[in-house]
Amino acid sequence: MLTRHRIALLAATIVAGLGFGAARADTIKVGITFSATGPAASLGIPEANSVALFPKQIGGADVEYIMLDDGSDTGRAVANTRKLIDENNVDIIFGSTVSPAAISMVSVAAEKKVPMIAAAASGAIIAPMDDNRHWVFKTPQNDGLMADAIVENMVKQGIKSVAFIGFNDAYGDGWLKEFTRSSKAAGIALVDAEKFARQDTSVTAQTLKMIAAKPQAVLIAGSGPAPALPQRTLKERGYRGLIYQTHGVANTEFLKIGGKDVEGTLLPTGPYLIAEQLPDSNPVKAVALDYKKRYEDKYGAGTASTFGANANDCERLFEAAVPGALAKAKPGTPEFRAALRDGIEGLHGVVLDHGVATMSPTDHNGFDTSARVMVKIENGAWKLLP
């Protein structure tokens, strides 16, 4: 499986390399910095893989993609952004995968007046809206939107007290903030908040503390397969309450590693994850399944992930705005970039893998509640909850 990934990446690069040679004057250049290595590699690699699936022509213009790896590092993400803009003269930036890096890229994109679409989750990337964030959009759903879904579900289940354990990083921080806000509004008591790290060998201590607070439910906020550890430890220590996870675990590795320990877990996610289970009337279904098929045709069955879909959504936003921008100016000019930015901000009801987005000058994510569903893990698979 891994070697296939590599070969695909290689192919993607060669394609990108060939594209570079064939660049013409009216070629639109897209600069991409994803975290294909470093701590966020498990998110960044499916994103980077998706680049090979992007269309090479949009609205009659050739599109060239130039991708760099930022190693999940802020400094390199910023350097990449400058390089892509100054060296490669790109018209738009996709990335980064991790929030701190994306946040640091904002001021560079604004300085250079190049639109940027982040594939990272933190709300701080696009809010509060100001002159810098004017140029920046992002595709993953806001943590707040997801937190509301969890709280809604908790209210439905009659839960009054919750303990929280999250990654000791930007992802865990964002969730703690949003969940605190949302649960407070719903009158749910947050009885304990703990942190853990992706690489921790044990979370027994945090688990004991949570259990001592006697919560009716526990919310675990982490990404990749690592959040299976607190869940297993909770089980080992005899915890019987409900367990919620976040969309950060919406990947097959989590199911594989979690095994029977994660049965019954509830989590919010973009509709992409369970696209097959959506009613045909949902416009997202066709788009999501199309991406999934193209990805898995290339990389093998079961390889597509919600993170890759975030990257695909960057491209879809961009693609939707290109025709309008092409009508106004030539690629490679400041006017084109401004038109591209205006175009994305004006997008209305554009269908993405994770929902339907409607942008506005104050909302550069554009998702509403249709962009998240609650799922339950049953028999080692995701099951859409009504």
């Binding site: 390399g17 802020t74 400058r82 060296e87 701190p100």
Partner: protein, 584 residues
């Protein structure tokens, strides 16, 4: 380098970014290099010069960056006010860190800095005022008279000037009495202590100076990136800066810049070319970089700069500057140094059992005895290197028992060592100049600002005079490592004399000298005695010591077995027994 050269460099930093046709990305690479090089410059002082390994420089950079970020973003202060705040914050934090960490030695210190680095990282990531993991964004850029320096070329000018400034002040600091004291920390700490250098102060100075440079770099970084968060201030980044210094050549100032250039450019080149060969996501950059690093170290363990650098030209030493202030030589014949029932044990071993003698001004007293008699331990007891378990040391009638080597030096004792302890990274004359440490007064700040030139001239005049006196004037600009062992001992005498002592303790100065050199040394010692100096001489060369000493003290098994004029001692049965008994 002359002031003119530095000016030219500064002009280059101002003008070069605006060169027409210069790709903007190169300018942003130059910014990265500049900021890294400032931190690496600090590491040259800390690690290369003072021999302390620190992994915490990136974390200290974070102190400066967060200080200015908080002030300019949350409190709306001008970024220029953030500069003194960043420098002060890193200074204060470094003082606090140093106070608990710098007493650690060697690997403990390195680990201590790792501990700080990890701790500070998680502090940054969990403090609300610092924006937790997301950090602080929307930091204002620097601005001059309303002109906001958003253009990377303008930032490059500021960073370039900052780098030139950092290297200039570092050059000044290294080329001062404090610079020599810091250099002595690496391999010459005991010798430096013997001429009064407070080692703790010198260590703290190196640590704080490096930290302030890191804080300065952090200030530049914050206003360049206009966003800060914990990742650039973690352990991995700290390792990266150390690596730059080592690759470039940690013991050399230009090595910092060279290392930063190499590491940034190589990383960039790898990022450009490798994905075309192996595909992205393979992390081939780190693999190739890691391998290249190992191979480079195998080819050049001291870094790359020494391979490029020419040997520096000999400097002209002005001997006409006014003499340094010195304490008056006490009157001839007065009591200089008195050992009273000194005893020192190491575990069960009694090195010195009972040592008593008196040394007078203008007297040359020989301390002799077979190997293992306790002579060197006695020397260490008398110069404060080792503290006695029992007994007293008096200097000019003052009780000095328990005093540090520095206090002893302050009260007029100077010494040489049996195994010459010259500072390898200093030239001969600089080693001698180290001896004048207590006679100079310039503070580190004065040194950095170059306000110490008049005093430095006097110090070097003094050092040149003492070298001349010891017959080594020709070797003034030689590296200490180039000398023969015998010559190194003579340099130690010159260093001791440069301290302006009234009591001189010499540990086997004649060992390794040729006959003519011994004659010259003897003449020097006679002259010093005539000037009123009290000299205690440990020597194995019996002919040398017999011909020179006024009196002899003979030790065996840690006790004095005989004392008196040479000709009397020579006939003393106990002495003959001690020297020959073991053999007979």
């Amino acid at each position: 380098m002359k002031p003119l050269h530095w000016l030219a460099l500064a002009a280059l930093a101002v003008l070069l970014p605006w060169l027409p046709g210069l790709p903007l990305f190169w300018v942003s690479l130059a910014c990265q290099i500049g900021i890294s090089a400032i931190i690496a410059t600090g590491l040259v002082v800390l690690t290369g010069v003072a021999g302390m390994t620190s992994f915490a420089q990136a974390s200290l950079m974070g102190i400066g960056a967060y200080a200015t970020a908080v002030l300019s973003t949350n409190y709306g202060l001008s970024p220029w006010l953030g500069l003194p705040a960043a420098l002060m914050a890193s200074l204060v934090v470094a003082l606090a860190m140093g106070a608990v960490t710098l007493r650690l030695s060697g690997h403990y210190l390195a680990l201590g800095t790792i501990a700080w680095s990890v701790s500070l990282y998680y502090l940054y990531a969990n403090l609300d005022i610092l924006g937790r993991n997301d950090g602080i964004s929307g930091i204002p850029p620097l601005s001059i008279a309303g002109w906001r320096l958003i253009d990377i070329r303008a930032s490059a000018v500021v960073i370039g000037l900052g780098l030139v400034g950092a290297m200039l002040t570092t050059r000044h600091l290294l080329d001062s009495r404090w610079g020599r004291a810091m250099r002595a920390l690496r391999g010459g700490a005991v010798a430096a202590a013997s001429v009064g250098v407070e080692l703790g102060q010198a260590r703290m100075l190196a640590f704080v100076y490096a930290a302030v440079l890191a804080g300065f770099a952090g200030w530049l970084f914050a206003h360049l990136q206009r966003a800060v968060n914990p990742t650039p201030f973690g352990l991995v980044a700290g390792i990266q800066y150390l690596l730059m210094a080592v690759v470039g050549g940690a013991a050399h100032l230009p090595g910092a810049l060279l290392g930063a250039i190499l590491v940034v450019l190589v990383n960039n080149a790898l990022q450009d070319w490798l994905p075309h060969l192996v595909g992205p996501g393979v992390n081939a950059e780190t693999v190739v970089f890691g391998l290249a690093l190992v191979l480079m170290l195998q080819a050049a363990p001291t870094g790359l700069w020494p391979l490029l650098a020419r040997k520096s030209k000999p400097r002209h030493h002005d001997v006409t500057a006014a003499a340094l202030p010195r304490t008056l030589m006490p009157a001839q014949g007065g009591v200089a140094l008195q050992a009273i029932n000194l005893q020192r044990r190491f575990g069960g071993l009694v090195a010195v059992a009972d040592l008593s003698f008196t040394l007078y001004q203008g007297e040359l007293l020989g301390l002799i005895g077979p190997n293992g008699a306790g002579k060197s331990t006695s020397f260490n007891l008398l110069s404060g290197v080792t503290q006695p378990n029992h007994g007293r040391v008096e200097l000019g009638g003052r009780d000095m028992t328990g005093s540090s080597p520095q206090d002893m030096a302050r009260c007029g004792i100077a010494r040489s060592f049996q195994h010459a302890k010259l500072v390898q990274s200093l030239t001969v004359i600089e080693n001698v100049a180290l001896g004048t440490h207590l006679r100079g007064a310039a503070s580190p700040v004065a040194a950095v600002l170059r306000r110490d030139r008049a005093e430095e001239a006097r110090i070097f005049a003094e050092a040149a005079i003492q070298l001349e006196r010891c017959g080594l004037a020709d070797l003034a600009d030689a590296s200490a490592t180039e000398l023969a062992l015998g010559q190194q001992r003579i340099v130690e005498i010159a260093r001791a004399l440069a301290a302006g002592p009234s009591v001189l303790l010499l540990d086997e100065p004649a060992a390794g000298l040729r006959h003519a050199e011994k004659q010259a040394l003897a003449a020097l010692l006679r002259q010093l005695r005539a000037e009123g100096m009290a000299i205690l001489l440990v020597e194995h060369d019996m002919e040398f010591v017999m011909s020179l000493a006024d009196r002899l003290v003979v030790m065996d098994f840690g006790t004095v077995i005989a004392e008196g004029r040479p000709q009397d001692v020579r006939r003393n049965p106990a002495v003959i027994e001690a020297y020959l008994g073991g053999v007979a």
